[in-house]
Symmetry: C2
Subunit: 191 residues, 2 copies
Amino acid sequence: MNKHPLRQQIEEIVKLTDDEFDFVLQHFRKKSFKKHQIILHEGDYAQFDFFVVKGLMRVTKLDFDGKEHILQFGMENWWITDAEAFHNKTKSTLIVDCLENTETLSLSLESKEKLSRELPKMQTFFLKKTTNGYIALQKRILCFLSSNANDRYHNLLTLYPGLIQRVPKAMIASYLGVTRETLSRLSKIKA
Amino acid sequence: MNKHPLRQQIEEIVKLTDDEFDFVLQHFRKKSFKKHQIILHEGDYAQFDFFVVKGLMRVTKLDFDGKEHILQFGMENWWITDAEAFHNKTKSTLIVDCLENTETLSLSLESKEKLSRELPKMQTFFLKKTTNGYIALQKRILCFLSSNANDRYHNLLTLYPGLIQRVPKAMIASYLGVTRETLSRLSKIKA
DNA sequence: CCATTTTTTTGACAAATGTCCTGTTCAGCA
DNA sequence: TGCTGAACAGGACATTTGTCAAAAAAATGG
């Protein structure tokens, strides 16, 4: 009997009874999307934080020049949204779309706050997840500070070995902050 | 009658009674450090998260080549520590030291968790602060993805206008991920 | 105030990366 | 089946940034 992936993630941090998890799950709504579908447009309000059950999404920033920069991928068990727009109820400056058909559980800010209030364990969970996310971003920044494109690429390979098979290299390049031409050259030059 | 800077920061997010703030403050310990003093060495456990009352600290990563990369500055009202080592009780991979004589309020992980448990408002505060920190790091990453050294520099100037007066430019360069020579050349080439 | 150290700037050159372009392969689709 | 566009590799050259060396400027300590 397999536990729900969301429950599994929560219980890595706080334990829940069956009733408690039912209560938690009531605050989510299932949403499915198709490949290429845009979930959040620039300028829209970010109504939901998405827990990815199956599939692959990404968060993109559109440049002044129209270039797109990938801030984040979201595979299974990742949370994905425009964090600033979602938490501050402001219009999104980012775009969220699907690279594959994707099933999610969506959580509104109101539901998140209600959950945090009525089941304090869940606030503990959100705090721990956010802290871990903060630490992960610090590491990514450190990577920008201390590594060249080649090292950043190989760091990414070991960090998310599954990603490269599911995502075009041009997007990997975008996530790494280099052009696809540069990434293409790295692949062969050096292991 | 001026409020305590820590209270002021907390009350931007959750309101506290005088008694509650007294209770909060009991969990902190005043610690003062001198310029150049190292607060957290690589390999040490990060016992505390520091709220900077007065002064200036920084968090540094030491390279394999011995080069240092500045991950974060911490001025007045900032929180500073090795987040990963602090929250996971692991040995620090970063160094925290003082660029000026600095007064802090230190909070241990045990105190932070006790406070979160006994005064849920404080957990709400910590969650909001961490979320804001996460958003700030996302923006810094976006800056690395989409901007060259010159734009990153001017972005930093507008973001923390006070910083440049208090910190040698070589350290600003380190924070931006460029050499001091490159930064020096930018300053004049372009506004 | 001077002496010393730290910080900043500058130049010449090397290395990394970006830009523009072409050609090839391959998957998806009419 | 053949067409089309996406993905990828590669060349030629421009631009940005790094490296090393040295001088100039500013800060610090006695």
